[in-house]
Symmetry: C2
Subunit: 233 residues, 2 copies
DNA sequence: GAGTGGTCTAGACCACTTT
DNA sequence: AAGTGGTCTAGACCACTCC
């Protein structure tokens, strides 16, 4: 029942990245060097690196090297942002409103989130596109994982970039459960929206490098100006 | 600018599968045999086969062999069916109503569908779950690709299985554009549904082995009994 | 030209399935 | 025991990037 060597190598490298030995944007040693350090051949090190690339943890460039994935405001402003316009282009929304508060975690949240935190931060945002409502987002993250988060307000547009830089927390996958609902008075009121609007409600759990759930998010999408793009498998 | 050998090998094998030389469910020659036939080493044949497996075209089993992917009513009744219940399990709906008609293709359909067909089949279905409405589906496929389709009614539950068996057309990927809408009188009427229901409307294009668009589908999902599960990247 | 990842080969051995 | 895919190694050469 031994793990394959390349799996062990994969885990070792991932651990070094998660620990901050190789921070986002930094370059990894070359294949031969990694193989030497982990006592495996270049081919095996290569396989581990290819798996890491497939997972999105690193990026490899012929002639340059292997780099730990860096989410920058420029090239990944809206990673995990599924909204597209009719031409299939990602839309660039405007942030209208934001709030960050701290509160006790519910039992349900403790069960799902990494480390069962006592307290969570709740980040609420309202975004528009061309003056029309686009999304209402409520993100719940463990407070212990992101000390001082409220003091950083206003948060950058792309929150995951902040997570990565300030807290060495790299989000690499997320699943979302979607339902169609009517917006309702409670959600519509604060921003003066039409409570009878049909909206797409997404409940998301986001996983970091080590497959820990570091965010529970509820997104309300208004799909008049944009649509939600999903790939089926 | 030469293609890598493994890419050529991949294309060759895919072509043989698409042509029916290796029909779904059949076994492929082993790695050494394929390498010999295509004048590449076993390692290169292996890489091509691994890519095919990644794409979902073949399935490999240690000790058994490499098999062309076979969608059976049992194990993939609802491939590309994104609806799940609250436990994350795929739901098994009941088919209430079905119709298959032929009509002229619109210009928009011709532009999107493979081979710009003059005529298309329109397959409409209504499904329920536990007595509640679940989906209204309208599938548009090129008539020339599926001769005699209407005579095969009632169609099996899983249409893609039929496509594969009777027409050697294997669907391997699909993208869907989602919006939240109100059902409306026109769609609600025929089945006596509540026209004020909020519904999730998905417009899907399905691709086959050779990346040809062989289906345009509009799905209306009722998300009271189930939700739509999406994976973000 | 030196260094990197990408391709390709040849061969060895392991793990699983079937006969 | 025979046959398959899975792992691992060692070495060669190619293509790209940077100095």
């Amino acid at each position: 029942m031994n793990k394959p060597l390349y799996q062990t190598a994969y885990d070792e490298i991932l651990k070094l990245i998660a620990e901050g030995t190789f921070p986002p944007g930094s370059i990894l040693p070359n294949e031969f060097e990694i193989g030497k350090r982990l006592n495996v051949s270049q081919g095996t090190a290569r396989k581990a690196l290819s798996l890491l690339e497939q997972k999105g943890v690193v990026q490899r460039r012929q002639g340059k090297g292997t780099f730990v994935t860096l989410r920058t405001p420029e090239d990944s402003l809206f990673n995990f942002y599924p909204l597209r316009d009719d031409q299939g282009q990602q839309v660039i929304p405007d942030l209208e409103n934001e709030s960050v508060t701290k509160r006790k975690a519910t039992k349900a949240e403790q069960e799902i989130l990494h480390d069962a935190p006592q307290e969570v931060f709740v980040i609420s945002r309202y975004r528009t596109l061309n003056g029309s409502p686009l999304t209402l987002e409520e993100s719940i993250v463990p407070a212990p994982l992101f000390p001082g988060l409220p003091e950083r307000a206003p948060l950058p547009n792309a929150m995951y970039v902040l997570f990565q830089h300030a807290y060495a927390c790299v989000i690499i996958s997320a699943v979302e459960q979607l339902r169609a609902e009517i917006l309702g008075e409670e959600k519509a009121g604060p921003h003066g929206l039409d409570p009878t609007s049909p909206v797409l409600v997404g409940r998301r759990e986001s996983l970091d490098l080590l497959d820990r759930v570091v965010e529970i998010r509820t997104n309300i999408y208004f799909t008049t100006e944009a649509h939600y793009s999903a790939k089926l498998e």
